[in-house]
């Protein structure tokens, strides 16, 4: 009896332990197909460039904790008063002063610089880390990027903002403001006759880059740069106006600081955001919210790009932070088995950040197609899966589902929306997977099932359609022509609507004496796994009713949601996350010229309707957003799709 009890106890304990740690679950990798081609004919931006790299430090020269900024500074800088932007409890202030030797009134301007050995001038790129253990200094973690970019003709500066790390809250405006104070210092470095950097800096070509909280801060910095006063205290004047051309956010948070209580608006910069699906710190793609808010209003050729990197984490883009996103002991709860290697993650950083900076600061337009369709760089990108968003200044929205609650109207007057044979047609808000936090973006859900309810399972109804119809005036106003492209952003979901009802036979007389059974509502199976590709046909119709059809898959890989489990314990994963995936829509840019090639009679300048015909998958549901047209810069289309 005792032995039985013992065995039973052992079995209970063993099964309890086994039940809690979940097996590794990943979406099967399709990169062998998706990244099978290298179509971009340009030097790999991850390859080391021709320049010899030099380094220097600038800073206070008195730093108590950082010997580099005490003993090795080539340029001494004056401390700055950041007290208007950073609030601390008296205890925090006291502790921090004890450790750092200064308070917010004397924050140092410390930076480590990698720069090309050459006369210049070279574009200036500032990178700022995010929050981390303040005593585990974060700024050296971008050395790989500094050496790489400097070899390619950029000056990279990794800012020391470790003194803003730790338990401070709502300090991201301070991080941003410090970044701009660094730029002020750089103006001096470039002008000073005694500076080793005199004349080497192209102050008209500046990029700012930030990671995590620093990734949020770069948005604030881009906004502050063009303001004359601090939104939260107008007594504080700004006078920056630097030529910030490009902004890069690496796994950023969003809206921890909200200027004047509003989400930070960013305008007229090139913007890149990257985020890992397996981020164990910022476990939702919050940077997409800032990406949505980036607007192009001055007619200049700006673009914005967002990359969701499957199996990348938060910290591996910084060599100090590494794989344990929530601290050195976080391997106890973070599932690190699915991560791509640190080398692969940093290779991705070199490719995408490198190409972005080459395109935006060096004006190397040969890299632009990478941001329209990442499949053109299959040989450069590490072999994992990517979902990318893209938009450029020419984009004109037809339907982004933000403007009202009428599902039949588009974003601009003259655009109407209709559905036919759809099982699901609704507009709703997109949420982030972490605690269902709002993405501040609406989209339309479209579901279909061609099966007809009944015994005959082979019987299929006509394909469902969703049509965006353009009035003559709007078509004319948008100047749609052969050079234009159609934009769609799509994410297939796992939802499978049930079979549609059989069409009623109106020739049969109904027996009114029999009670009519209530029709069963179509079943919707949300959780059933299906690996078939969700593809559909994009059909364009001109004013002469000539149609041109192309499959969506020609312009990108429509993937079902990428399965993501960040935590080792299934129960904790379930309690913290609303879904086991992030809903990230893939942007498809479809040149009208391709439709003309497919159907030469089609007249793009007479575009009357964009019709999505759900004929390539029998059953499925998609989320659709940001339908638009654009007279896109041909440089983005230079490389043919695979």
């Amino acid at each position: 009896m005792i032995a039985e009890m013992k065995n039973f106890s052992i079995a209970v304990v063993a099964s309890t332990l086994a039940a809690c740690a979940q097996p590794l679950k990943l979406t099967p990798d399709d990169s062998k197909v998706v990244l099978a081609h290298q179509l971009l004919d340009a030097p790999n931006p991850a390859d080391r460039g021709p320049y010899t790299v030099k380094t220097l430090y600038y800073g206070s020269g008195t730093d108590k904790q950082r010997r580099y900024f005490r003993d090795s500074v080539a340029i001494k800088t004056k401390p700055t008063d950041a007290s208007a932007f950073v609030s601390m409890t008296p205890e925090q202030a006291s502790d921090r002063k004890g450790y750092w030797g200064f308070e917010a009134k004397q924050f140092p301007i410390n930076g480590r610089v990698w720069y090309p050995d050459g006369p210049g001038p070279f574009p200036l790129v500032l990178v700022v880390h995010g929050n981390h253990n303040m005593k585990d200094f974060s700024d050296p973690g971008y050395q790989y990027l500094g050496e790489h970019l400097a070899s390619r003709g950029f000056i990279l500066v990794s800012l020391d903002e470790n003194f803003l790390n730790g338990a401070l809250r709502n300090e991201n405006d301070g991080r941003a403001w410090m970044m701009l104070k660094h730029l002020e210092a750089w103006r001096g470095f470039n002008d000073s006759v005694t500076s080793p950097l005199r004349g080497k800096v192209d102050m008209r070509n500046i990029a700012i880059m930030g990671h995590s909280r620093g990734g949020e801060a770069v948005g604030h910095a881009a906004a502050f740069n063009r303001l004359s006063r601090y939104p939260d205290d107008a007594k504080v004047k700004f006078n920056f106006n630097f030529d910030i051309k490009a902004v890069v956010a690496i796994a950023p948070v969003d809206a921890q600081y909200k200027p004047a209580g509003q989400f930070t608006p960013v305008e007229n910069v090139d913007y890149l955001v990257i985020h890992g699906s397996h981020d164990g710190d910022v476990s939702a793609f919050t940077g997409l919210r800032q990406w949505q808010r980036v607007k192009f209003t001055d007619g200049k050729p700006w673009f914005k790009s967002a990359w969701y990197v499957y199996r990348a984490n938060h910290g591996q883009w910084n060599t100090v932070w590494g794989s344990t996103d929530a601290g050195p002991r976080s391997a106890r709860f973070l599932d690190l088995r699915g991560l791509i290697s640190p080398e692969e993650q940093r290779q991705f950083g070199k490719v995408v950040i490198g190409a972005f900076l080459e395109a935006t600061l060096h004006n190397k337009h040969e890299y632009l197609p990478l941001f329209r369709d990442h499949r053109v760089a299959g040989a450069w990108l590490p072999k994992t899966m990517y979902i990318t968003r893209f938009q450029e200044n020419g984009y004109e929205p037809l339907a982004n589902f933000e403007e009202d609650v009428d599902v039949t109207t588009g974003t601009v007057a003259g655009v109407s929306l209709t559905g036919d044979s759809l099982s699901t047609w609704k507009e709703d808000a997109l949420n982030l997977r972490w605690q269902n936090a709002p993405m501040n973006d609406n989209a339309v859900w479209l579901g279909w099932n061609r099966h007809i309810a009944g015994d005959d399972t082979t019987k299929l109804g006509r394909p469902a359609t969703y049509t965006i119809a353009l009035s003559d005036s709007i078509s004319h106003a948008l100047h749609v022509d052969m050079r234009s492209s159609i934009y769609l952003s799509v994410a297939p979901t796992e939802a499978k609507p049930g079979p549609r009802e059989a069409a009623k036979d109106s020739t049969k007389k109904r027996d009114s004496t029999k009670a009519r059974p209530k029709p069963k509502p179509p079943e919707t199976k949300k959780d059933a796994k299906d690996t078939t590709t969700i593809d559909f046909t994009v059909e364009l119709v001109d004013a002469n009713n000539v149609t041109a059809r192309l499959p969506l898959t020609r312009y990108g890989a429509p993937r079902r949601p990428l399965e993501t489990h960040v935590l080792r314990r299934a129960d904790r994963e379930q309690s913290q996350f609303a879904n086991t995936y992030e809903l990230v829509l893939q942007t498809y840019v479809m040149p009208l010229a391709d439709f003309v090639t497919a159907s030469p009679q089609f007249a793009p300048d007479k575009l009357k309707a964009i019709r999505l015909v759900f004929d390539r998958a029998v059953v499925g549901t998609i989320i659709l957003d940001d339908i638009g047209v654009s007279a896109i810069d041909p440089a983005f289309l230079a490389q043919a799709r695979p």
């Binding site: 304990v13 809690c20 205890e91 106890r332 709860f333 314990r569």
Partner: protein, 317 residues
Amino acid sequence: MRVSALIFSGTTALVAATPQRVDGQCLGQRLPTSASTRGVAMGDASTAMRDDDVIFYGPAQLAVARGTSAAAERYFDRLASGTVSTASRLASGGIGVGAQVIEGRNVDPCLQPMLGPGGTFTFTPAARTISRTLAVVGAAQTYKRFHVGASAKYAAAQLDDQRTSRFLFDAGASRDFTLGDFVPLTVALAVQNIGTSARDTTQLITPLRGALGLASGGPVGPFDLAIAAQLAVERNGVQSIVRHGRFIPGLGVELGYTWLDGYSVAVRIGERTPPTRTDLRHFTFGGGLVLDRISVDYAVEDLVGFRLAHRVGIRLR
């Protein structure tokens, strides 16, 4: 509350079921007072700990203590104890409730030596049944970095049909520090049994007591190290502290290993100054197993005469 009630009734049943075999030794009325299984294994240095049963050691740490626990201990055949406690968050502080029952039974007749005038011993019949009951309710609040707490307790002792009871109070303060690179240190001060009298001290075992406790810990390789230390002084009735030398140090070390968030094992060892006139000796040791929200703790106390007292506790978080 249902869980707490279940734990309480289970513990009471366990205590009641403890064998009451007569072995000829005489049980004194001064009973052991340890209330925390983890604390016992760590030399009873519990003042700065943050388990729910800290309510028996000092109320300040109720500000950070969470959980519900029950423990039963069998010292030897005729003496056993049961303890339940719970602590939960309330605003920026916490509240806690605890109860402890210790029961002993003597052979009949059992004579115990009593020191009489002139240094002569006389033997008087000891009580046949001895019990001590303690009920505590406390609360703590955090002000800036300080936790300040107070608790009220009802202590009762019964020797056969003679019953003594008293309401007493505890007060305490504690503060969390950080040493070097994120090594936490908690310092806690507790004054217990405020309002006690000389008679209470001997009958209710409630000496006026002051305790300064420290708790710290951190990672050591793949392990988690926890250290608890305590120095207590007791004013034993009308006699002064220094004259009786009642400085009562205690020290305990715990080494834990977590293989999955929420799942860990730990071994503990402790050294303490045992209460006088009990069978308890210096060394304690034990272990713990944490399975998500449930932890099972085990402690062993070294007793006079190469005997061991075993204590088992279950904690819900």
